[in-house]
Subunit: 156 residues, 2 copies
DNA sequence: CCTGAAATTATCTTAAC
DNA sequence: GTTAAGATAATTTCAGG
Protein backbone atom coordinates (compact mmCIF):
# COMPACT_ATOMS: atom_id res chain seq x y z
CA UNK A 1 0.00 0.00 0.00
CA UNK A 2 2.26 2.76 -1.26
CA UNK A 3 1.29 6.39 -0.80
CA UNK A 4 1.18 8.66 -3.84
CA UNK A 5 2.43 12.23 -3.84
CA UNK A 6 -1.13 13.51 -4.18
CA UNK A 7 -2.39 11.44 -1.25
CA UNK A 8 0.49 12.76 0.80
CA UNK A 9 -0.43 16.33 -0.02
CA UNK A 10 -4.08 15.70 0.81
CA UNK A 11 -3.05 14.25 4.16
CA UNK A 12 -0.80 17.23 4.85
CA UNK A 13 -3.57 19.70 4.17
CA UNK A 14 -6.11 17.84 6.31
CA UNK A 15 -3.58 17.55 9.14
CA UNK A 16 -3.48 21.34 9.24
CA UNK A 17 -7.15 21.97 8.63
CA UNK A 18 -9.59 19.09 8.80
CA UNK A 19 -12.44 21.35 7.73
CA UNK A 20 -11.04 22.42 4.40
CA UNK A 21 -13.74 21.91 1.77
CA UNK A 22 -13.33 19.34 -0.99
CA UNK A 23 -13.44 22.16 -3.52
CA UNK A 24 -10.47 23.95 -1.95
CA UNK A 25 -8.63 20.69 -1.26
CA UNK A 26 -9.08 19.57 -4.86
CA UNK A 27 -7.90 22.87 -6.28
CA UNK A 28 -4.83 22.99 -4.02
CA UNK A 29 -3.64 19.51 -4.98
CA UNK A 30 -4.53 20.06 -8.65
CA UNK A 31 -7.36 17.57 -8.95
CA UNK A 32 -11.05 18.01 -9.59
CA UNK A 33 -13.54 17.41 -6.84
CA UNK A 34 -14.70 13.88 -7.57
CA UNK A 35 -11.31 12.09 -7.60
CA UNK A 36 -10.21 14.16 -4.62
CA UNK A 37 -13.31 13.08 -2.74
CA UNK A 38 -12.68 9.44 -3.73
CA UNK A 39 -9.11 9.61 -2.44
CA UNK A 40 -10.10 11.07 0.91
CA UNK A 41 -12.74 8.37 1.36
CA UNK A 42 -10.18 5.72 0.44
CA UNK A 43 -7.69 7.12 2.96
CA UNK A 44 -10.38 6.99 5.63
CA UNK A 45 -11.38 3.44 4.69
CA UNK A 46 -7.75 2.21 4.75
CA UNK A 47 -7.40 3.70 8.22
CA UNK A 48 -4.61 6.06 7.21
CA UNK A 49 -6.88 8.91 8.26
CA UNK A 50 -8.30 7.77 11.58
CA UNK A 51 -10.66 10.65 12.16
CA UNK A 52 -10.93 14.38 12.62
CA UNK A 53 -10.41 15.98 16.00
CA UNK A 54 -10.71 19.45 17.49
CA UNK A 55 -7.38 20.61 18.92
CA UNK A 56 -8.11 22.05 22.36
CA UNK A 57 -5.77 24.28 24.38
CA UNK A 58 -4.85 22.59 27.69
CA UNK A 59 -3.85 25.88 29.36
CA UNK A 60 -7.11 27.46 28.23
CA UNK A 61 -8.98 24.58 29.86
CA UNK A 62 -7.27 25.35 33.16
CA UNK A 63 -4.44 22.85 33.02
CA UNK A 64 -1.47 25.09 33.69
CA UNK A 65 0.83 22.25 34.65
CA UNK A 66 2.04 19.22 32.77
CA UNK A 67 4.56 16.61 33.79
CA UNK A 68 6.23 13.45 32.54
CA UNK A 69 6.29 10.49 34.89
CA UNK A 70 8.49 7.45 34.41
CA UNK A 71 6.75 4.53 36.06
CA UNK A 72 8.13 1.13 37.06
CA UNK A 73 5.69 -1.65 37.93
CA UNK A 74 5.64 -5.26 39.02
CA UNK A 75 5.50 -7.09 35.66
CA UNK A 76 2.51 -9.27 36.53
CA UNK A 77 0.39 -6.15 37.10
CA UNK A 78 0.73 -4.71 33.62
CA UNK A 79 -2.83 -5.43 32.61
CA UNK A 80 -4.75 -3.67 35.41
CA UNK A 81 -2.16 -0.92 35.39
CA UNK A 82 -2.68 -0.20 31.71
CA UNK A 83 -6.44 -0.36 32.05
CA UNK A 84 -6.44 2.24 34.81
CA UNK A 85 -4.00 4.45 32.96
CA UNK A 86 -6.30 4.43 29.95
CA UNK A 87 -9.27 5.26 32.14
CA UNK A 88 -7.65 8.09 34.05
CA UNK A 89 -8.76 11.47 32.63
CA UNK A 90 -5.63 13.33 33.76
CA UNK A 91 -3.24 10.97 31.98
CA UNK A 92 -2.86 12.70 28.64
CA UNK A 93 -0.70 10.08 26.89
CA UNK A 94 1.04 6.87 27.90
CA UNK A 95 3.74 4.72 26.30
CA UNK A 96 5.36 1.45 27.27
CA UNK A 97 9.12 1.92 26.97
CA UNK A 98 12.46 0.20 27.23
CA UNK A 99 15.01 1.59 29.64
CA UNK A 100 15.04 2.23 33.36
CA UNK A 101 11.28 2.51 33.68
CA UNK A 102 8.44 0.51 32.15
CA UNK A 103 6.15 3.37 31.15
CA UNK A 104 6.20 7.06 30.45
CA UNK A 105 3.05 8.95 31.38
CA UNK A 106 2.27 12.49 30.33
CA UNK A 107 -0.04 13.96 32.96
CA UNK A 108 -1.86 17.27 33.55
CA UNK A 109 -2.98 19.27 36.57
CA UNK A 110 -4.49 22.64 37.30
CA UNK A 111 -1.74 23.70 39.69
CA UNK A 112 1.07 22.38 41.88
CA UNK A 113 -1.26 21.35 44.69
CA UNK A 114 -3.35 19.33 42.27
CA UNK A 115 -0.22 17.78 40.74
CA UNK A 116 1.04 16.75 44.16
CA UNK A 117 -2.31 15.12 44.93
CA UNK A 118 -2.41 13.42 41.53
CA UNK A 119 1.07 11.95 41.93
CA UNK A 120 0.82 10.85 45.56
CA UNK A 121 -2.80 9.76 45.74
CA UNK A 122 -3.42 8.44 42.27
CA UNK A 123 -0.46 7.76 39.99
CA UNK A 124 1.73 6.10 42.62
CA UNK A 125 -1.30 4.09 43.82
CA UNK A 126 -2.00 2.56 40.43
CA UNK A 127 -1.85 -1.28 40.33
CA UNK A 128 1.67 -2.66 40.67
CA UNK A 129 3.56 0.64 40.75
CA UNK A 130 6.91 0.30 42.51
CA UNK A 131 8.59 3.58 41.60
CA UNK A 132 7.91 6.90 39.85
CA UNK A 133 10.27 9.60 38.62
CA UNK A 134 8.66 12.88 37.68
CA UNK A 135 9.98 15.63 35.42
CA UNK A 136 8.04 18.87 35.06
CA UNK A 137 7.34 20.19 31.58
CA UNK A 138 8.60 23.76 31.71
CA UNK A 139 7.77 24.65 28.12
CA UNK A 140 6.34 23.10 24.97
CA UNK A 141 8.86 23.28 22.16
CA UNK A 142 6.84 21.47 19.51
CA UNK A 143 3.32 20.15 19.75
CA UNK A 144 2.85 17.77 16.83
CA UNK A 145 4.66 17.28 13.55
CA UNK A 146 3.08 16.63 10.18
CA UNK A 147 3.20 12.96 9.22
CA UNK A 148 2.85 14.02 5.62
CA UNK A 149 6.07 16.05 5.83
CA UNK A 150 7.80 13.32 7.82
CA UNK A 151 6.85 10.84 5.11
CA UNK A 152 8.29 13.05 2.37
CA UNK A 153 11.45 13.74 4.39
CA UNK A 154 12.05 10.06 5.08
CA UNK A 155 11.79 9.28 1.38
CA UNK A 156 9.05 6.72 1.84
CA UNK B 1 -13.33 32.99 31.57
CA UNK B 2 -15.19 30.10 33.15
CA UNK B 3 -16.34 27.20 31.02
CA UNK B 4 -20.00 26.23 31.13
CA UNK B 5 -21.22 22.65 31.18
CA UNK B 6 -22.62 23.04 27.67
CA UNK B 7 -19.35 24.40 26.29
CA UNK B 8 -17.56 21.50 27.91
CA UNK B 9 -19.86 19.01 26.23
CA UNK B 10 -19.45 20.72 22.87
CA UNK B 11 -15.68 20.54 23.25
CA UNK B 12 -15.87 16.87 24.19
CA UNK B 13 -17.93 16.02 21.13
CA UNK B 14 -15.66 17.96 18.76
CA UNK B 15 -12.58 16.34 20.29
CA UNK B 16 -13.96 12.99 19.21
CA UNK B 17 -15.36 14.07 15.87
CA UNK B 18 -14.50 17.47 14.48
CA UNK B 19 -16.83 16.96 11.55
CA UNK B 20 -20.02 16.47 13.50
CA UNK B 21 -22.63 18.77 12.00
CA UNK B 22 -24.03 21.70 13.94
CA UNK B 23 -27.45 20.11 13.74
CA UNK B 24 -26.27 16.91 15.44
CA UNK B 25 -24.06 18.81 17.88
CA UNK B 26 -26.93 21.09 18.86
CA UNK B 27 -29.34 18.23 19.35
CA UNK B 28 -26.87 16.24 21.45
CA UNK B 29 -26.19 19.12 23.84
CA UNK B 30 -29.85 20.15 23.90
CA UNK B 31 -29.57 23.47 22.10
CA UNK B 32 -30.86 24.70 18.77
CA UNK B 33 -28.49 25.33 15.92
CA UNK B 34 -27.90 29.07 16.20
CA UNK B 35 -26.74 29.27 19.83
CA UNK B 36 -24.69 26.13 19.32
CA UNK B 37 -23.05 27.71 16.30
CA UNK B 38 -22.40 30.91 18.28
CA UNK B 39 -20.77 28.98 21.09
CA UNK B 40 -18.47 27.06 18.77
CA UNK B 41 -17.41 30.28 17.05
CA UNK B 42 -16.78 31.89 20.46
CA UNK B 43 -14.66 28.90 21.55
CA UNK B 44 -12.64 29.24 18.36
CA UNK B 45 -12.23 33.01 18.83
CA UNK B 46 -11.11 32.62 22.46
CA UNK B 47 -8.52 30.11 21.29
CA UNK B 48 -9.92 27.29 23.40
CA UNK B 49 -10.49 25.39 20.17
CA UNK B 50 -7.28 25.90 18.23
CA UNK B 51 -8.30 24.16 15.05
CA UNK B 52 -9.43 20.90 13.53
CA UNK B 53 -6.92 18.28 12.50
CA UNK B 54 -7.01 14.95 10.71
CA UNK B 55 -5.62 12.19 12.93
CA UNK B 56 -3.19 10.20 10.81
CA UNK B 57 -1.85 6.74 11.62
CA UNK B 58 1.97 6.84 12.00
CA UNK B 59 2.37 3.11 11.40
CA UNK B 60 0.19 3.36 8.30
CA UNK B 61 2.49 6.11 7.02
CA UNK B 62 5.44 3.77 7.35
CA UNK B 63 6.79 4.87 10.71
CA UNK B 64 7.02 1.56 12.51
CA UNK B 65 9.38 2.83 15.19
CA UNK B 66 9.07 5.56 17.78
CA UNK B 67 11.45 6.54 20.53
CA UNK B 68 11.83 9.01 23.37
CA UNK B 69 15.12 10.85 23.61
CA UNK B 70 16.25 12.77 26.68
CA UNK B 71 18.59 15.50 25.47
CA UNK B 72 21.06 17.61 27.46
CA UNK B 73 22.52 20.72 25.83
CA UNK B 74 24.91 23.53 26.56
CA UNK B 75 22.58 26.20 27.98
CA UNK B 76 23.69 28.99 25.67
CA UNK B 77 22.64 26.94 22.66
CA UNK B 78 18.99 26.61 23.57
CA UNK B 79 17.74 28.95 20.87
CA UNK B 80 19.26 27.32 17.75
CA UNK B 81 18.61 23.92 19.29
CA UNK B 82 14.90 24.61 19.70
CA UNK B 83 14.64 26.12 16.24
CA UNK B 84 16.12 23.03 14.63
CA UNK B 85 14.00 20.70 16.72
CA UNK B 86 10.88 22.53 15.54
CA UNK B 87 12.05 22.32 11.95
CA UNK B 88 12.95 18.63 11.98
CA UNK B 89 10.14 16.56 10.40
CA UNK B 90 10.97 13.39 12.32
CA UNK B 91 10.68 15.04 15.73
CA UNK B 92 7.06 14.37 16.55
CA UNK B 93 6.86 16.35 19.81
CA UNK B 94 9.32 18.16 22.07
CA UNK B 95 9.18 19.45 25.63
CA UNK B 96 11.60 21.38 27.80
CA UNK B 97 11.80 19.59 31.15
CA UNK B 98 13.26 19.70 34.61
CA UNK B 99 15.33 16.74 35.78
CA UNK B 100 18.44 15.06 34.50
CA UNK B 101 17.99 16.20 30.91
CA UNK B 102 16.92 19.52 29.41
CA UNK B 103 14.51 18.22 26.78
CA UNK B 104 12.43 15.21 25.90
CA UNK B 105 12.01 14.51 22.19
CA UNK B 106 9.52 12.06 20.74
CA UNK B 107 10.95 10.89 17.40
CA UNK B 108 9.88 8.55 14.60
CA UNK B 109 11.65 6.34 12.07
CA UNK B 110 10.74 3.79 9.45
CA UNK B 111 12.94 1.06 10.91
CA UNK B 112 15.91 0.44 13.20
CA UNK B 113 18.46 1.39 10.55
CA UNK B 114 16.70 4.71 10.01
CA UNK B 115 16.46 5.29 13.77
CA UNK B 116 20.17 4.65 14.18
CA UNK B 117 20.93 7.14 11.41
CA UNK B 118 18.53 9.70 12.87
CA UNK B 119 20.05 9.48 16.34
CA UNK B 120 23.72 9.44 15.36
CA UNK B 121 23.67 11.76 12.34
CA UNK B 122 20.93 14.21 13.23
CA UNK B 123 19.66 14.34 16.82
CA UNK B 124 23.06 14.12 18.50
CA UNK B 125 24.42 16.69 15.99
CA UNK B 126 21.82 19.33 16.85
CA UNK B 127 23.27 22.62 18.18
CA UNK B 128 24.71 22.34 21.68
CA UNK B 129 23.82 18.71 22.36
CA UNK B 130 26.10 17.16 24.98
CA UNK B 131 24.27 13.94 25.78
CA UNK B 132 21.29 11.84 24.68
CA UNK B 133 19.52 8.95 26.38
CA UNK B 134 17.12 7.00 24.21
CA UNK B 135 14.21 4.78 25.25
CA UNK B 136 12.30 2.83 22.62
CA UNK B 137 8.52 3.00 22.64
CA UNK B 138 7.46 -0.63 22.65
CA UNK B 139 3.72 -0.02 22.71
CA UNK B 140 1.24 2.85 22.82
CA UNK B 141 -0.96 2.57 25.89
CA UNK B 142 -2.99 5.72 25.41
CA UNK B 143 -2.86 8.17 22.56
CA UNK B 144 -4.65 11.32 23.72
CA UNK B 145 -7.09 12.03 26.50
CA UNK B 146 -10.17 14.23 26.29
CA UNK B 147 -9.57 17.67 27.79
CA UNK B 148 -13.30 17.98 28.24
CA UNK B 149 -13.37 14.89 30.47
CA UNK B 150 -10.22 15.99 32.26
CA UNK B 151 -11.84 19.33 32.96
CA UNK B 152 -14.94 17.69 34.39
CA UNK B 153 -12.87 15.24 36.46
CA UNK B 154 -10.70 18.00 37.91
CA UNK B 155 -13.78 19.89 39.00
CA UNK B 156 -12.82 23.06 37.16
C1' DC C 1 -29.98 34.09 25.84
C1' DC C 2 -33.32 31.50 22.53
C1' DT C 3 -36.33 30.00 17.82
C1' DG C 4 -37.17 29.49 13.14
C1' DA C 5 -36.62 30.40 8.49
C1' DA C 6 -34.12 31.83 4.40
C1' DA C 7 -29.87 32.25 1.58
C1' DT C 8 -25.66 30.37 0.51
C1' DT C 9 -22.29 26.55 0.21
C1' DA C 10 -20.74 22.06 0.59
C1' DT C 11 -21.33 17.10 0.27
C1' DC C 12 -22.25 13.14 -2.13
C1' DT C 13 -24.28 10.61 -6.06
C1' DT C 14 -24.87 9.75 -10.69
C1' DA C 15 -23.99 9.89 -15.51
C1' DA C 16 -21.13 10.54 -19.24
C1' DC C 17 -16.44 11.31 -21.51
C1' DG D 1 -8.31 10.20 -14.54
C1' DT D 2 -11.94 14.26 -16.08
C1' DT D 3 -16.47 17.47 -16.26
C1' DA D 4 -21.09 18.56 -15.15
C1' DA D 5 -25.45 18.49 -13.11
C1' DG D 6 -28.60 17.68 -9.40
C1' DA D 7 -30.45 15.97 -4.82
C1' DT D 8 -29.45 16.27 -0.17
C1' DA D 9 -27.67 18.28 3.67
C1' DA D 10 -24.70 21.46 5.76
C1' DT D 11 -23.22 26.28 7.10
C1' DT D 12 -24.10 30.96 7.90
C1' DT D 13 -26.93 35.07 8.26
C1' DC D 14 -30.91 37.47 9.67
C1' DA D 15 -35.48 38.88 11.56
C1' DG D 16 -37.71 38.65 15.78
C1' DG D 17 -39.11 36.93 20.79
Amino acid sequence: MTISEIDRRIIGLLERDARMSFAELAETVGLSKTPCWNRVKALEAEGLIRGYRAAVDPAGMGFGIEALVQVSIRPEMFEPFEREVRAHPLVRRAHATTGEADYLLHIMAADMAALDRLLRMEISQLPGVTRTVTAMITRDIKSENSLSEAHRHAGL
